[in-house]
């Protein structure tokens, strides 16, 4: 029995990491399309999405089989439930990458909009969140997952800033309102990708530590480090953070 469940869990973990690899690449390509106008990369994202959809169903069916036939408990149960949720998150990230690729096709045909540094920064952080979320899953590293969770403030902040700048820009450049709305649509999708990476991080923490941290990360961190602040913020408060 234990050998069977170990084989099943090993298989489903390999499958989810395979999907993770595909989705990470899709995000990368969609951002190349957005930032560099690489329409070939964007087209590959759009055409390849059905692969992720098919794999998502396979993983879900496999997980349901494990639940029904192996009745996993403890760390096995946590792994299966985490994989099921991460599976949905990855599929959604794949869809959002498609949306970005589609917006990029429109944006590639028009003059470049003047928000590039912040857009590049937001793309880099969001991409890193997806990558490190998957790394945390591979390594079963709850600390890395928590760092991913902490990173999510940055895409949120950048999105709000670009939104403010874009509002002002559209008031003075009414002929570019349509283009700007396409860019904001793409960035909204990117911000959602970062949110899904955060979900993955939360599921990894549950898988490793058995604690549901969703909506109560500060409480979780207080138990871990005594003050509840992300370590980099605590360092800043003590003046030890190297600017």
């Amino acid at each position: 029995m234990s050998k069977q469940i170990e084989e099943d869990l090993d298989q489903v973990l390999k499958q989810i990491l395979h999907i993770g690899g595909i989705v990470e690449e899709a995000v990368d390509k969609s951002l190349r399309a957005l930032l560099s106008g690489d329409l070939e990369a964007g087209a590959e994202v759009i055409e390849g999405d059905h692969v992720v959809d098919d794999l998502e169903l396979e993983v879900e069916e496999k997980c349901l089989d494990i639940l029904a036939l192996r009745q996993p408990v403890a760390s096995d149960l946590r792994l299966v439930t985490a994989v099921m949720k991460i599976n949905s998150d990855l599929e959604r990230i794949g869809d959002l990458a498609v949306n970005i690729a589609e917006r990029s096709e429109v944006l590639a045909a028009v003059e470049t909009l003047p928000f590039r540094p912040d857009v590049s920064r937001m793309a880099a952080v969001s991409k890193r969140m997806v990558k490190q979320g998957l790394d945390a899953l591979v390594r079963r590293d709850a600390k890395l997952a928590l760092r991913v969770w902490d990173m999510d403030v940055e895409p949120d902040r950048l999105y709000r800033e670009i939104l403010g700048e874009a509002s002002a820009f559209m008031q003075t450049n009414v002929n570019r309102i349509g283009d700007t709305l396409h860019l904001l649509g793409a960035l909204r999708n990117l911000e959602r990708i970062a949110d899904h990476a955060t979900n993955i991080a939360e599921d990894v923490i549950y898988m490793v530590e058995g604690e549901i941290v969703r909506h109560r990360v500060e409480e979780h961190r207080r138990r871990q480090n005594g003050h509840g602040l992300p370590d980099f913020r605590a360092d800043a408060a003590e003046g030890t953070l190297d600017a």
């Binding site: 234990s2 996993p72 408990v73 403890a74 760390s75 149960l77 530590e209 058995g210």
Partner: protein
């Protein structure tokens, strides 16, 4: 029966005195003096530093455990781990085994059940037991259930009928046997016989029910009925159940204790034991990776 010299084992150790009978039973159930959390259930059984030896072999090591009223506590662990031994200490069934000695305390409503003044018959009336193999007497269904009250001196037919009916109802057997109470209990199915034994335990109006693998010899349907019954009985009784079936422990219990080699490795809320056990041995056992 081996008698232990208290002086050689210290003041926490005493011999098992199944042969001691005194006229006083346990005092009336003491109420827990305070309940810090309003919704928390009162403590019913407290096991404190309990050690048990079969001759020279120590079977239980420093067991500390609390069982709360109107809850189900499951004891799990591999064969020979001490879970049934612990169960039997709660109504002193081990008194019947030669060479057994214990140290430490088992307290029921804050009274030490191994105190020399405790009358074991009264203790066992308060703490009933259901065994792995159903063991109905070769008597009628009615007489099986009425047996306990009868030996307690109750002979009033109407009172006995009321007890038999209510006990069979609580054991979820009444509807199946009400028309054949005078027939032999041995004609019932295995699952019905086990529920009859539960009804027989209930007839003496116990406060605690000990169940030693109560469904291990039953088919899935009968097992389901026993598990439903345990769930229903929980509203009135404190239940401690030993089971080899971990899914059963997960289904029926509020708290679970995992035993290994006579040690209570981990005890806690059942949902935590089966989702996030704190001890590696527990994790290995519940996930089937033990040994």
């Amino acid at each position: 029966m081996q008698m232990t010299d208290d002086s050689t084992l210290g003041d926490r150790t005493r011999g098992v005195r199944a042969d001691v009978r005194v006229s006083t039973g346990l005092p009336p159930a003491a109420k827990t003096p305070e309940q810090p959390v309003p919704s928390a259930r009162a403590e019913r059984i407290r096991i404190d530093k309990l050690n048990l030896w079969y001759g020279d072999n120590q079977a239980l090591f420093d067991i500390d455990m609390v069982v709360h009223e109107r809850s189900v506590t499951a004891l799990i662990g591999p064969s020979g781990c001490g879970k049934s031994t612990l169960l039997r200490t709660i109504n002193r069934m081990n008194d019947l085994v030669d060479g057994v000695r214990i140290s430490g305390e088992v307290r029921l409503d804050d009274e030490d059940i191994y105190h020399r003044d405790v009358e074991v018959e009264i203790l066992r009336r308060r703490v009933g037991m259901v065994f792995q193999k159903s063991n109905p007497f070769p008597k009628s269904i009615f007489e099986n259930v009425a047996y306990g009250p009868r030996i307690q001196g109750l002979n009033d037919r109407t009172a006995l009928e009321e007890i038999v009916e209510s006990s069979l109802e609580r054991a979820a057997l009444w509807d199946e046997v009400k028309d054949r109470l005078d027939q032999s209990a041995l004609g019932l199915s295995g699952g019905q016989q086990q529920r009859l034994c539960i009804a027989r335990s209930l007839a003496t109006n116990p406060e605690v029910l000990l169940m030693d693998e109560p469904a291990s010899a039953l088919d899935p349907l009968s097992t389901g009925k026993i598990e439903d019954l345990i769930h229903d009985l929980k509203s009135r009784y404190t239940i401690v159940i030993v089971t080899h079936n971990m899914q059963q422990a997960a289904r029926v219990s509020d708290r679970t204790g995992f035993f290994l080699n006579g040690v209570l490795v981990e005890e806690g809320p059942t949902d935590r034991i089966f989702t996030n056990p704190q001890h590696k041995d527990t994790e290995d056992y519940v996930t089937g990776r033990f040994g």
